[in-house]
Symmetry: C2
Subunit: 255 residues, 2 copies
Amino acid sequence: MARVICVSNQKGGVGKTTTAINIAACLSAYEKKVLLIDADPQANATSGLNVIVEKSNPTIYECLIKDYDVSNAVYSTQMENLYVIPATSDLAGIEIELVNMEAREYYIKRNIIDKVREDYDYIFLDTPPSLGLLTINALTASDSVLIPMQCEYYSLEGVSRLMQTIKLVNQRLNKTLYIEGVLFTMFDGRTNLTNQVVSEVKKYFGQKIYKNVIPRNIKLPESSSFGKPIILYDINSKGAIYYLELTKEFLARVA
Amino acid sequence: MARVICVSNQKGGVGKTTTAINIAACLSAYEKKVLLIDADPQANATSGLNVIVEKSNPTIYECLIKDYDVSNAVYSTQMENLYVIPATSDLAGIEIELVNMEAREYYIKRNIIDKVREDYDYIFLDTPPSLGLLTINALTASDSVLIPMQCEYYSLEGVSRLMQTIKLVNQRLNKTLYIEGVLFTMFDGRTNLTNQVVSEVKKYFGQKIYKNVIPRNIKLPESSSFGKPIILYDINSKGAIYYLELTKEFLARVA
Ligand SMILES: Nc1ncnc2c1ncn2[C@@H]1O[C@H](COP(=O)(O)OP(=O)(O)OP(=O)(O)O)[C@@H](O)[C@H]1O
Ligand SMILES: Nc1ncnc2c1ncn2[C@@H]1O[C@H](COP(=O)(O)OP(=O)(O)OP(=O)(O)O)[C@@H](O)[C@H]1O
Ligand SMILES: [Mg+2]
Ligand SMILES: [Mg+2]
């Protein structure tokens, strides 16, 4: 039975997709069977793993709206134990399509997670930079939330709204939802700004903050342009080491 | 009669808010009367200019939904000629509230722009990282679109969807909408990745690309945590020089 983890932060560009792809890939390298679900219409997790969607094949959109057989929407990747349910820009219309539906927050849970959960060790959901219905669906379908966080003011500012939303989902839609952890991304420990933000975030999240941080490393954006996780693109790069170390800490916590 | 410019790119974290605040501030320093409208529920443009919204005062949300007198929602800032219509997180609900309304794409244009346009030289709209109804409203209300762009793969990938949306708005909602310019942000000219993306973007946008780029500069995120535009926070910083030079190029184009 898989643990389901939603990677979420409504602040844009904080490293949600980069973290979802690379933790999932590192776990699959540690022989875990992992599914990554792209719940963002930008479909960056899909292209970041070089998943090519044929026009006729189902994606997350078909699983949600047309109740397709989910197993047809699962694609393999270049990593042996890593699978993806891809997205396309069709997903952008889903929030309006679901607005007037009964139990609109449970579509990801009922149409996807409940059907595949037995087949994997871990399931990750990459979410868009918003707190709309797609992200609510992802939070409702997850056991826990992993929050990537840039150590800058706008990212810090958004945390209280994110926590309000998580609390609401926890009260009304998913009683067991908890914070998996907070990850500092694009981290530069030399600046005052970073140290100020870190001390603020520590007050909020304390032990939930991963000891491993992910400093800025050019190999990470490079790897996405080659459609590969960092450990396939350049196993010796600092970016690969950062995510491998983080994944060890992640595994130690869930054990 | 103001020129109305929408700062937009659905990719998260590419420098929309930083660009909107700093171009608006530089123009106001050049004695132009400027209004910045925060159309993003994250309300980063509002806090980035240290605009404190009293609970009882109207914001963009009240102007759109309750047809408040817009002039009550206009706040002054620390820059003499710069004014702001702020946002709060209340704005997050607007997309669902507008979905079933008549002429839902024209709310920003009819309830705000048409009422204040005579009072300013320039009006800028900061938008959220999405192509939802708020961004469509902002595009419909604008003369042109300024597109901040990070030179990385995911940002490049999103351009075709952004252009599709702009084309649709241009065909159906706003016949005169055009591309004001494309601005390279957090620019690092030393990497291969940047040079690859730049050559791709040049094929798409050609002359529309500003010659001035905005390299990464720590004073920019620092200035946002002090609630000041860069020219007030540190006029001698590289960040200030980059935006002052860009603004000169912007003015030369609109002349
Ligand atoms: N540690 C890092 N070092 C350098 N670049 C990074 C790092 N992490 C992410 N990036 C780059 O920063 C950009 C933003 O990251 P990413 O797209 O993963 O964020 P996101 O939160 O998923 O964005 P969005 O809000 O648009 O979904 C990408 O171009 C990515 O390649
Ligand atoms: N040239 C720059 N150098 C260094 N940091 C920058 C630069 N431009 C923006 N930043 C920082 O990068 C982060 C993202 O920028 P910003 O919030 O302006 O992007 P955005 O596109 O408005 O994000 P969102 O998609 O969430 O609205 C912010 O923390 C900002 O302070
Ligand atoms: Mg992403
Ligand atoms: Mg912004």
